[in-house]
Symmetry: C2
Subunit: 112 residues, 2 copies
Amino acid sequence: MTLVNETCSACHADAPRVGDDELTALKAQIPEWKLVEEDGTPKLQRIFSFTNFADALAFTNRVGELAESLSHHPALITEWGRVTVIWWTHKIHGLHRNDFICAARTDQLYIS
Amino acid sequence: MTLVNETCSACHADAPRVGDDELTALKAQIPEWKLVEEDGTPKLQRIFSFTNFADALAFTNRVGELAESLSHHPALITEWGRVTVIWWTHKIHGLHRNDFICAARTDQLYIS
């Protein structure tokens, strides 16, 4: 089953973080995403390119709509010509399987 | 004349940066904004608070609309419960009077 077809599960403070082996396997499904660390918290980050500000902002809104539908929210940095999307799970200060699902769904929004 | 009633002027690579004295005077009109430096470029930054994601995203769109109307674009970081707005002038790698006008107009959008 590919990530994009999975659904997000409700996430609690004691939900499992993604382990190293699982991370490698999941990361392979979203090759455009970078694993970054901010304040000791691992996060998934991808920069999406556009040819103007309006298209970047429209994408921010599409990702925002996805986030609302999943009750899971990224950081969205909107600038002229690009949107940086950062997914992580606040409650566990790290990466949950949900974040990889959201990253895959975000890729799908960019293609469509 | 207050900043909020001024209009942005077209900005070129040789447009004047705001000098130290002018900066102090302009900054006093937008007390909620912080002067930050990113990669050697001075910028104006303010974090606006909201009680959910939808309201934060709605504010991002209002600031985006302002930016489009002025042909001057900030970085907008949308997260659950907050939007960080960062204004600077790319062409001069620094702060132009326009940025202070935009900051004052952004404050006005938050109040209204």
